[in-house]
Amino acid sequence: MSETRFKTVRNLPPDHLLGTGTAMCAGCGGLEALHQIYDILGEKTVFINAAGCMTLLAVYPFTPFRGSWLYTAMASAPAGAQGVRDALDILLERGRMTAAEDLQTVVLTGDGAAYGMGLSATSGAIERGLDFLYICYDNEGYGNTGQQTSGATPHGAGTATNKGALGYPGDKKDLFAIWAAHRPAYVATVIGAEPLDLARKVEQAMQLTGPRLILALAPCPTGWGFDPDATVQLGKLAVETGVWPLKESRGGKTMHTKVPKKRLPVEDYLKCQGRFAHLFVPERKDSVLLEIQAKIDAYWGAVECHGAVDP
């Protein structure tokens, strides 16, 4: 990572730009991350939103944003960003707008759009080299509609559509790898519980042009079943157990930005969430727990061997 202005947490922005009193749930890990991201991005931005929890940030006649906003639909926020970016470029080229009036084009979607319905539009925007920042708040399910299983739901999690004894039988899709395979300008995972790592990555993304992804794991009290005051603690556990690797990819090279020295057992992360309670009561599902732990160990084993996991 190049020189950063965020050397310690003391360097983080002291002022918060995003307004409060929105319709987000108490303890929303997505909002936690967005606050931090917005403080760094600033108000010279236009957020292009896809249907999801954060669509309710801007409800007429209020908005928490100091800059601009365009709600599109669930599948096509990147195409909205394409239209806005291209139009801004045309206005700049033709002298109908000054460079000082230019805006960063920022897509804001949840995992439902980012991992599923919006993938075609996202892939298209990356292949065209669109200059935009894509923020995904990943709460690992269709959170806004009550946490049904999405493409981001992890193995074994209970959701509104997987209430059985073993939870969701599939695996979480690797959106980081899907993005990285497109060779975009930048891809990074972040979490609100690690604000310094997050700030450096947003700073890095802002220095680049082209498609850039900031993928934020968003602990979700209502969807995951934990107390809203535990959001930060759960986020830290996601990193320390190795469930959520903090990493970035540039020029085809992936770097881990925070490798847990001694990984905590994944159980520590799972057992404090209602969505995994069926793995512990009425009896322990050791086979599932071992399976989840083995996948995490295999991931980090590869990182320790190669320094990274190739997408």
């Binding site: 108000e43 010279k44 236009v46 292009i48 669509t55 309710l56 801007a58 409800v59 007429y60 908005t63 944003f65 100091r66 800059g67 601009s68 906003w69 365009l70 709600y71 599109t72 639909a73 599948a75 096509s76 990147p78 195409a79 909205g80 960003a81 394409q82 239209g83 806005v84 291209d86 139009a87 801004l88 470029d89 045309i90 206005l91 033709r94 109908r96 707008m97 000082a100 009036e101 230019d102 805006l103 075609s120 539009a121 892939s123 298209g124 065209r128």
Partner: protein, 413 residues
């Protein structure tokens, strides 16, 4: 300049003369020639426009709406399945009040999948909030694109417009088209002034935010309706200016030999030219018939339609679309519009024809007049008539027997 242009070529020329700045695109038959033509002009420096290929029509319409909302003149085109694939965004960008022009080259909808035209695609978009112009000739295609931009961008309207032309019959048919000069067009269509719309640092703008409850929702929906209603007068004004500038006259509703007609055909699009030819033949045979063709379908020119049908005894509405379980969509529009009018109460007879490009022959127009006159005389209105000939049915039976033979593995006889 007079050129032999296809309908697609005429649409491309309309966009070029409107000096469109942005073209989000996606290919689909029979539209593709439009975007290819403009792309070539861009590549050879004849057109100062940015083209971008999107991943779908859904994305394409999103990008078009977003660019128009940001303040550049935007044009795009699609057909059929593409229009329906983007349907969610048709409603959405109309609600953004994003003024741009979309050309739809009509083509029948799956299933069964086909390439040739009818109007179920464009009529599925009837209620999305776009205004609709339905063209009958290649000249009208070029002219309608220019008219559409002027109406769309008018501050009293601020709505996107679909210009519709029929696949194959117009899209791939060459007709002589007068192509006006850039200077002439500049007098008719000033540069796009987005006024208070657009995203700029320093003037934050929240577009398309959510609303909670019916009060705000209804307000914005009503605003779109009232703007669409304004568009009829704006269209008429624009058509007057168009006539002064280019010497070609357009009306929201075209009438042909209607004044003394007893029976009037109602048709839209290029197939209306078949009806026009049939009117000439019927008149030669001593029948007092005429033709009414809505050029403007949204907003619906209700008063103009009523005026044109005062004193008529029978109206044969030939729908090139089918609402299964009801019949023709234009028929229901006309019936609703005329219901309860004391001085305008013709017998409306519904016909379905031209689906998937099926021809409508002169003898069928003669027969439709007979059926309509019989309904007038008896006061007995028949259910929607599905135009189909015995020879077509024989062909169909032959194909069915071939399909069945293959299925059963039997030898063809």
């Amino acid at each position: 300049m007079r050129e032999m242009l296809t309908g697609n070529g005429a649409a491309a020329w309309g966009a070029r003369l409107a000096e469109v700045e942005y073209l989000p695109a996606f290919p689909i038959t029979p539209q593709t020639e439009i975007i290819e033509t403009i792309a070539k002009w861009i590549d050879f420096g004849e057109c100062n426009c940015r083209i971008v290929m999107l991943d779908s029509e859904h994305s394409m319409i999103t990008a078009a709406g977003a660019a128009a909302t940001t303040g550049v003149r935007t044009f795009t085109a699609t057909s059929s399945q593409g229009l329906l694939y983007g349907m969610e965004m048709l409603y959405t960008v109309a609600g953004w009040r994003a003024p741009f022009v979309l050309v739809n080259v009509s083509r029948g909808l799956a299933s069964p999948i086909t390439l040739e035209p009818d109007h179920n695609d464009i009529l599925a978009a009837r209620d999305c909030g776009f205004l609709q112009l339905h063209c009958a000739t290649c000249q009208e295609v070029l002219d309608s694109v220019l008219l559409a931009f002027r109406v769309a961008e008018d501050p009293r309207v601020r709505l996107p417009v679909i210009v519709n032309l029929d696949g194959f019959y117009l899209s791939f048919t060459r007709e002589p088209v007068k192509v006006p000069s850039v200077q002439e067009v500049a007098g008719f269509l000033p540069p796009f002034d987005p006024q208070n719309q657009g995203f700029r640092a320093g003037t934050p703008f929240s577009q398309a935010v959510a609303v909670l409850g019916g009060t705000a929702y209804s307000y914005f929906r009503y605003q779109s309706h009232l703007a669409a209603r304004n568009a009829e007068a704006v269209f008429t004004e624009s058509a007057v200016l168009f006539n002064e500038t280019f010497g070609r006259s357009y009306q929201a509703v075209e009438t042909y030999c209607c004044d003394d007609a007893e029976v009037v055909f109602v048709m839209m699009g290029s197939f209306a030219t078949k009806a026009k030819a049939a009117v000439d033949q019927l008149r030669a045979a001593g029948q007092a018939v005429g033709l009414l063709r809505p050029l403007l379908l949204r907003p619906f020119p209700a008063e103009a339609v009523r005026r044109a049908l005062v004193g008529k005894r029978g109206v044969a509405i030939v729908d090139q679309n089918l609402s299964p379980g009801y019949g023709g969509i234009l028929h229901s529009e006309f019936a609703a519009n005329l219901y309860g009018c004391r001085d305008v109460n013709p017998v409306l007879v519904s016909f379905i024809g031209g689906l998937g490009g099926r021809d409508i022959g002169p003898e069928e127009f003669f027969e439709m007049v007979n059926i309509t006159r019989a309904a007038v005389a008896s006061g007995c209105i028949p259910p929607p008539r599905l135009l189909y000939t015995e020879s077509e049915l024989r062909d169909m039976r032959k194909w069915q027997s071939i399909a069945l033979e293959h299925r059963s593995g039997g030898e063809l006889q």
